[in-house]
Amino acid sequence: MASLQGYLIVSTALFGIGAFGFMARRNAILMLISIELMLNSVNLSLVAFNAFVPGARNAGAIFALIVMAVAAAEATVGLALVIAIIRTRQTPEVDEYDDLKE
């Protein structure tokens, strides 16, 4: 388990779970959470590569920190957008957002 492959497989599985959640869930907030899961899985693979690849010179760790900051910004704006949409449409279900279709 404590090898690079083990960490990469965990990271891949988490990415798949996040991708499935983003495509399949109807709740807008759940879709944002799924995006966070995918970002976290990429972070895990970055940190794993940073730990195992010789000569990485901590680039992976710094990139993971930067991804975290960008994820925080994304979550802030995304949740503000979702709350604004829910306030006008009165529902968190994304398939009710069909104004452009009508």
């Binding site: 404590a2 599985a13 990415f15 798949g16 499935f20 495509m23």
Partner: protein, 160 residues
């Protein structure tokens, strides 16, 4: 053990019916990830994970759920019609990437190397100073954007 926490938490996030339960499962997943970062010899990333994800983003998401949940009397069906297709696509992606990860002959060290915190700090302010500043600007833009989006229209009229 931590992998079980991560994957079980992640699965619970996408399958549970109640959004609040999903958010709690997400916190379990993020906490296990912090433990895994500590195992990988990156305590600064583990600390940042606890602070940013467990501390800030989880609370933000729980607040968003609280503000938008009309009450859990009627829980609608959680999945779209295209959920089976989504399962297939996710499994194909996972299979391909896992196959690539397993079959590639990585030229890596057998054990994880630790990350020194002072090295990270020095690198952030020397080699990576420009990304650091850009992130500061991005966060400022995100704060302004969030305030603008979350403002209620009535407050505008009162201000005018």
């Amino acid at each position: 053990m931590l992998a079980i926490g991560i994957l079980g938490g992640g699965l619970a996030v996408v399958t549970l019916r109640n959004v609040i339960h999903s958010a709690v499962a997400m916190m379990i997943c993020f906490g296990s990830l912090a433990g895994m970062y500590a195992l990988l010899g990156a305590p600064i990333i583990a600390a940042a994970q606890v602070l940013i994800y467990l501390g800030a983003i989880s609370v933000l998401i729980l607040f968003a759920i609280m503000l938008t949940q009309a009450g859990d009397a009627s829980l609608p069906a959680p999945f779209h019609r295209q959920a089976p297709i989504a399962v297939v696509i996710a499994l194909v992606v996972v299979g391909l990437v896992a196959w690539a990860a397993v079959t590639t002959a990585w030229r890596v060290a057998p054990t994880a190397a630790a990350v020194a915190i002072d090295t990270i700090g020095k690198l952030l302010f020397t080699d990576y100073a420009l990304p650091f500043e850009i992130i500061g600007f991005l966060l400022l833009a995100a704060i302004i954007g969030a305030i603008f989006l979350a403002r209620r229209p009535e407050e505008d009229e009162r201000a005018n």
